[in-house]
C-alpha cells in the first residue's frame, strides 16, 4: 500500500535522470546532516592544509617556562607540559590524522578491492579460499588486529597506515564480493557474456562499476573509524613515536596525567577527533541515502 503511493508520486514528478552521480549529488545537496558533515570535514581539511599559515607557533618547539598555561588570547587552546602551543599542535595533528587515515583507508580499499574482485569474479575454489582468509582476519575483533600488526611491524606512520588498512581490507573485500555475486546473473552481465565478452572485461567494465557504490559509502564511513583507530593506536603508545610529530592520540596520552590541572589538553585534541569523525559519519550516511534513494532513514 505504502509502496504504491510512493511509486505514484515518483511517476507524477517526471524529471529526466542525469546519471547516478549527478542525481546523487542533487540529493546530497538537500541532505542537511550530510552538508553539516561536509562542513566539519572542510574545517578539518582546511586546518590541516593551512596549518603552517594559521599556526602562530612551531608545534614542536616549546618554552618550558610557559608550560601548562590555560587557554588565552596568545594560546587559544593553552600550552602543553613542554610549553608548546596546543592550537598549533591540534592543527598539525590534523595533517597526520588526515594523511594516515586517508592512506589507511586507501590501503584497505586496494587490498579489499583486489581480493573481493577476484573472489566475486572467479567464484568457486578461489572464492572459498579467499573468503576463509578474510574469515581469519575478521576473527580478530576491531582495533586488536591493527594493534597486533603494529606490534609486529614496529612503530612509524607507514606501519600504522598498513596496519589499519589491512584490518579494514576484509570488510571491503566481503562487501565487494557480495555485490559482485549478486550481479553475476544480472541481465546486462548475461548479455555481455552471451556476445562473447571475455570474463576479465565483464568483471572490470560491467560488474565493478555497478558494485562500487556500497564500497564508496563504506569507505567514507571507514574514514571516521580510521581517524578514531589511528588516534587509538597513538593513545596506546603505538603511534608514530616521533617527538617531532604532533599526533592527536599521542597528545591525549601525554596529557592524561594532568586531567586535574589541565583538562583543556584532553578536551581540544579530543574535540578535534570527534568533529572529524562526526563529519565523515554524516557524509557517509548522506552518501548512502543519496546513492540509494529507496533507502529511507
Amino acid at each position: 500500500m505504502a509502496d504504491q503511493t510512493t511509486a505514484v508520486i515518483v511517476r507524477s514528478t517526471p524529471r529526466a535522470s542525469r546519471g547516478l552521480w549527478r542525481d546523487a549529488l542533487r540529493r546530497l545537496r538537500r541532505n542537511g546532516p550530510a552538508i553539516f558533515g561536509l562542513i566539519c570535514i572542510a574545517i578539518f581539511i582546511l586546518g590541516a592544509v593551512l596549518a603552517p599559515v594559521i599556526a602562530q607557533y612551531d608545534p614542536t618547539i616549546g618554552n618550558l617556562a610557559s608550560g601548562k598555561q590555560g587557554p588565552s588570547l596568545a594560546h587559544p587552546m593553552g600550552t602543553d607540559l613542554l610549553g608548546r602551543d596546543e592550537f598549533s599542535r591540534v592543527l598539525y595533528g590534523a595533517r597526520i590524522s588526515l594523511t594516515v587515515g586517508v592512506v589507511a583507508v586507501l590501503v584497505g580499499l586496494a587490498f579489499g578491492t583486489v581480493i573481493g574482485a577476484i573472489a566475486g569474479g572467479a567464484g568457486g575454489k578461489v572464492d572459498a579460499l579467499l573468503m576463509r582468509i578474510t574469515d581469519v582476519l575478521l576473527a580478530v575483533p576491531g582495533i586488536l588486529l591493527a594493534i597486533g600488526i603494529v606490534a609486529w611491524l614496529g612503530h612509524g606512520q607507514i606501519q600504522i597506515m598498513l596496519a589499519v588498512g589491512i584490518s579494514y581490507a576484509p570488510i571491503f573485500a566481503r562487501l565487494l564480493r557480495g555485490s559482485l555475486l549478486a550481479l553475476r546473473e544480472a541481465e546486462f552481465v548475461v548479455a555481455a557474456r552471451s556476445i562473447g565478452t571475455p570474463g576479465h572485461r565483464i568483471l572490470v567494465r560491467h560488474m565493478l562499476p555497478n558494485a562500487l557504490t556500497p564500497l564508496i559509502v563504506q569507505a567514507t564511513l571507514a574514514l571516521a573509524t580510521a581517524i578514531i583507530d589511528v588516534a587509538g593506536l597513538g593513545f596506546l603508545g603505538l603511534g608514530p613515536g616521533d617527538p617531532r610529530i604532533a599526533e592527536w592520540g599521542e597528545m591525549l596520552t601525554d596529557s592524561a596525567r594532568f586531567l586535574q590541572s589541565a583538562p583543556y589538553l584532553i578536551f581540544f585534541p579530543g574535540a578535534a577527533i570527534v568533529i572529524s569523525a562526526v563529519g565523515f559519519n554524516l557524509l557517509g550516511d548522506g552518501l548512502r541515502e543519496s546513492l540509494d534513494p529507496r533507502l529511507k532513514r
Binding site: P141, I143, I147, W152, I266, V278
Partner: protein
C-alpha cells in the same frame, strides 16, 4: 537444528586453525633470530637457550608448528618473558575483570539503547527521534579514551561522585577470591565494599558501552519502525487491541530478532574496546595486559591473547547465530 549447529561449529575450526598458523608465523617472521627477537632487550644467553628449546627452533618449521598446536590444544600458551608466569594462569586471574567490564557495558548499552530506540521510533523524525539520532551519532564518533577521560574529569575530578580508577578501593582490603571485584565484595558481606565495587564499574561501562549503545539504539529504532508498518500491526490495532498489547505482543516480539543479533555482534567490539577502556581506567583485565605486553615486547603473550580473543569472539558469534536460528526457524531450514 543439530545439523545446523554442527555445520557452524565445524565452520569455525578452519578459521581458528588458519589464525593459529598466522600467529605462529608472526613469531617466526620477526626480524632476526626468533629467540632473540622474542626476548629483545631481555635476552640473556640462558633465556635464549631456554626459548630455543621450548620453541624447538632446531626442528623443521612444520614440526615446530605441530608442536605449538599440540601445546595449544592442551591449554599451554607458553609463558610470559617478563615474569615467567604461564599465560593461561595470568589470563585466568585477569579475565574476570574484563568479563565484569564487558557485562557492565552490555547492560548499559542494552538497558538504555532499547528504550531509547523504542522512544525514537514512536514518532519517527520528531524531536525526540532527532535527539536520539544525534546521541547515537556521538556514540559512534567519540573515541572510547576521549569519552573515558571526559567522564573521569566530570564525575570523578570535578563532582567527586564516582571513583576514577581501578576496580575497588584497595583500602577496603577485599581479598581476591574469584577475581570478580563485585563477587569478591559480595563475599565479604560488607556493604561499603559492595557499593564501592559497583561504583568503580559505572564510568568504564559507560565509556566502553557508548558504541554498542549507539548501534543498539539505531537498530531498535529501525526495526520497530519497520515492524510498525506491517499489515498485522494495523490489523491488531483495527481489531481494537490496546496500544500496550500491540506494542508488546505484535511489534516488539518481531522487532527483537535483528536487535538480538546485533547485541551479540557487539561482543567483538567490546573485547577490542576493552583494550582502550582498561588502559584509561587502569583496569586490571586482559585488555590492559595486551597493551603492557606490547610495550614490553612480550610477544608470546601478545600472540596468545590475540588467539584467545578471536576464539571468544568466534564462540560468541556462534552462540548468537545458534540462538538466532533457534528464535527464527527460517534460518534453520534456509
Amino acid at each position: 537444528m543439530l545439523r545446523y549447529i554442527l555445520r557452524r561449529v565445524l565452520g569455525a575450526i578452519p578459521v581458528l586453525f588458519g589464525l593459529s598458523v598466522a600467529l605462529f608465523l608472526f613469531l617466526r617472521l620477526l626480524p632476526g633470530d626468533p629467540a632473540e627477537a622474542i626476548l629483545g632487550q631481555h635476552a640473556t644467553p640462558e633465556l635464549i637457550k631456554q626459548i630455543r628449546e621450548t620453541l624447538g627452533l632446531d626442528q623443521p618449521l612444520y614440526v615446530q608448528y605441530l608442536d605449538y598446536l599440540g601445546r595449544l590444544l592442551h591449554g599451554d600458551f607458553g609463558a610470559s618473558i617478563i615474569d615467567g608466569r604461564p599465560v593461561a594462569d595470568s589470563f585466568l586471574v585477569r579475565f574476570p575483570a574484563t568479563i565484569e567490564l564487558t557485562i557492565g557495558a552490555l547492560i548499559f548499552a542494552v538497558g538504555l539503547g532499547i528504550p531509547l530506540g523504542r522512544l525514537a521510533a514512536r514518532h519517527p523524525n520528531g524531536w525526540i527521534d532527532g535527539m536520539v539520532t544525534v546521541l547515537s551519532l556521538f556514540g559512534i564518533s567519540i573515541p572510547i579514551f576521549v569519552l573515558g577521560y571526559t567522564l573521569v574529569f566530570v564525575f570523578a575530578v570535578q563532582l567527586h561522585w564516582l571513583p576514577a580508577l581501578g576496580q575497588i578501593d584497595p583500602r577496603l582490603g577485599v581479598t581476591p577470591v574469584t577475581h570478580f571485584a563485585i563477587i569478591d565484595a559480595l563475599l565479604t558481606g560488607r556493604v561499603p565494599a559492595i557499593v564501592d565495587s559497583f561504583a568503580h564499574l559505572i564510568l568504564p561501562s559507560i565509556a566502553l558501552g557508548s558504541i554498542p549503545l549507539a548501534i543498539v539504539t539505531r537498530i531498535t529504532r529501525a526495526s520497530v519502525i519497520e515492524v510498525s508498518n506491517e499489515d498485522y500491526v494495523r490489523t491488531a490495532r483495527a481489531k481494537g487491541l490496546t496500544e500496550r498489547r500491540v506494542n508488546d505482543r505484535h511489534i516488539m516480539r518481531n522487532a527483537w530478532l535483528p536487535v538480538t543479533t546485533v547485541i551479540g555482534l557487539q561482543v567483538g567490539g567490546l573485547l577490542a574496546g576493552a583494550v582502550l577502556t582498561e588502559t584509561v581506567f587502569t583496569w586490571n583485565g586482559v585488555g590492559s595486559w595486551v597493551v603492557t605486553a606490547i610495550q614490553n615486547h612480550d610477544y608470546i603473550v601478545v600472540q596468545s591473547l590475540i588467539l584467545i580473543f578471536a576464539t571468544i569472539f568466534l564462540t560468541v558469534n556462534l552462540l548468537v547465530d545458534i540462538g538466532y536460528a533457534f528464535l527464527n526457524p527460517r534460518i534453520r531450514y534456509g
